[in-house]
Amino acid sequence: MTTLTDPPKESFRLGMLIYDTRYRSMTIQAVAMLGFMLLAAWLINNTLTNLNTLGKPIDLGFLGEPASYDINQRLLDYNSRDTHLRAAFIGILNTLLVAVLGCLAATVIGVLVGVLRLSKNWLVARIMTVYVETFRNVPVLLWIVLALAIVTEATPHPRTYKGVETGWFIITNRGAYLPEALFSRSLGDIHLFGASSLRFDVSLDLIVLLVVLAASIFGVRKVNARANRIQASTGDRPTTWHVNLAIVFVPLIVVLTALGFHLGYAELKGFNFKGGTHLRNSLIALWAALSLYTAAFIAEIVRGGILAISHGQTEAASALGLRPNKTMRLVILPQALRVIIPPMISNYLNLTKNSSLAIAVGYMDITGTLGGITMNQTGRELECVLMLMGCYLLISLSISAVMNWYNTRVALVER
């Protein structure tokens, strides 16, 4: 007869920290942590010593001093007497502006090119391949610099517009001019944050327009929901498009008339154009180069996404009697989107990070203001570079958070 007894409790020996797999992971982690903390302490200590020797301990006071440089392309009001913090804020908005414009343009061009690369038309597919390979295999910085050279050297001087004087869209070697929206019975602005460096004027006209537009969209959705209900119960769908059109446009036109909406065109005054929305060469060059470059990558992603959906899906859809356009909309695209979105996120992030190359063409984004002139003027390299990195980290993490949220919404839910 045998009895089961517990094995004798092993007493803890020091060697077990290395040779016993139960404890070894803790040892390794403790060593890694210790090493990391020693390294960090060493770096911080070096930095502080060096800064003390240079006589400039870490101090963010410079942000409150007047910047005394000008930013010519900006979304909010700014003058050279404003602080460095204000300049950095204007810079962040400029970064976001070119990132948003670039992402939109790159998506449109990229999807178009990606679909055309799959075209049955041999010639079109080849042309798109040449476009993709050319743009992917040449550095983006070269495209940006080249785009700037083209828009400054291959465009006409303002004086060639003598006799034309004004127009919808004017390209000169000093930038492009578009009409601006003006309101003769404007409601004025809301001044957020008072007179501080982060002051932010929001036009009340714009808010009213957005509210009206939102209400219209809500109305359209109500009408569509009602049409769906009727279709479900009776089988006949009432025609809704004219009601929807009226819901969207009538209030919009009424409000625009009430606010006295009109367009302000740029006009030739002396040697230059005045008025209108002025897009500087630097913005156009950066926007064009970033969009075309990123579009080449997006085209490949879109093409890969569509190819990844097996042919059986198309066949199954036609077996169910769906027409080709419905097959595309209901079967192929929803599945392709799942493949496309994650790499698309990283391309949007790349575009945003590449927008920091603005410094090569003199567009005043956050790298040009905080990491450029402010840093050179104040000599605060450590503070400026760390803040610059912080800004980009914040932007990147926000973009990836939003896009990941969208990705989880369209992702396939399994079991």
Binding site: N46, L123, V124, N137, L141, E153, L357, L382, L388, Y392
Partner: protein, 433 residues
Amino acid sequence: MTQQAFVRTEMLPEKVPPASTVGVVGWLRENLFSSWGNSVLTVISLAAIWYVFSGVLPWIFQSVSGTASLTECREVMNETWGSTHGHACWSVVNERWLQLLYGFYPDHLYWRVNLALVLTLLALAPVLFSQQMPRQMIWLTALYPFIMPWLLWGGSIWGPVMVALGFLLGYAAYRILEPIAGSLVAVIAAIAAPVAWWFLLSGSAAGAIDGLVPLGIEAVESRKFGGFMLAVLLGIVAIGCSLPIGIVLALGRQSDLMLVKALCVGFIEFIRGVPLITLLFVASLLLNLFLPPGTNFDIILRVMIMMTLFAAAYMAEVIRGGLAALPKGQYEGADSLGLNYWQAQRLIIMPQALKISIPGIVSTFIGIFKDTTLVSIIGLFDVIGLAGAIRADTAWNGIYWELFAFIALLFFIVCFSMSRYSMYLERKLHTGH
């Protein structure tokens, strides 16, 4: 007896297919004019191609070269064709191509750069085409990291020899201690011995031997490096060093050890969240601040460090994708064979994970190579920096297409060959069905 039915006893010869479905006509009908929409697209494309070629071909071939400035170029153009529009002025490339390739490297030493490039190709050959090349060539690959910097920067040969000696020392320490004190102690000694050697002894040893046997070549300062050579140099170093670091980071990110994982994730996400240009600012402005007072090392070395770290973070993500794509059965299979962690990684996991991630790895390589142009922003004279300098020269003020076309061609050749090689490698390693 009457014949009731006609039964054919021999086969009819095949008819030729209709003329409109075979040959050139058939191909055109199928690929270019299959429907109304397609025909319209074809016509538009042909018009676009005609437009581009009618502008570009005369520009390239009806061009001027050999003049000393853009104004002279324009004079020649006006004499020959009556206008300056639509004709290239290749004189600038003709005059400056050596500078665009080598930067300010002394011209009597160009052979060293060329030799380094040849060595690079020879050292890469056994790695890239492992089956076609003799195995002994791998020794050249092992020696290459020490020969290449010596060739480019010049100076005494004893410096690189001492660095190489450190690696030998580490290897010797491992082999001697492993049977005596176990692998962990041996690994620690293998890391500690070379580090101690490099920081404490190698400098004075190199100096002493150099005093006895002065063996060296003319030294070249870092600020003379530039042009396309700088891009290739930075690209090779960043690519070569980032792969091993990336593998380690990817393993760290997949690891069960919470702290190690947190450190790796933090590092990767930080680097991937900021643009390369900010890291280059760190290299040019801050790296000296982080190191002990008085340290001042070379700007190109600092840029190399930051670019390597940058590339490693991206590489880690690509390899992590490969690791994640591997079926769990492979890990369990390795465990069931009794392999320990490193054996399993080396023999089972990594060969497969790396194979899966080849396309991603190569596109990271291409991205890094293209990103080397960013160093022009922190004041190094790479091709784009030089192009800016040439355009600022009064003789060539106003020129851009010709220069940028030349630079774009250089990058296109390298990047395009890399992407083609990755396709070759994918086919070669494709062992599935």
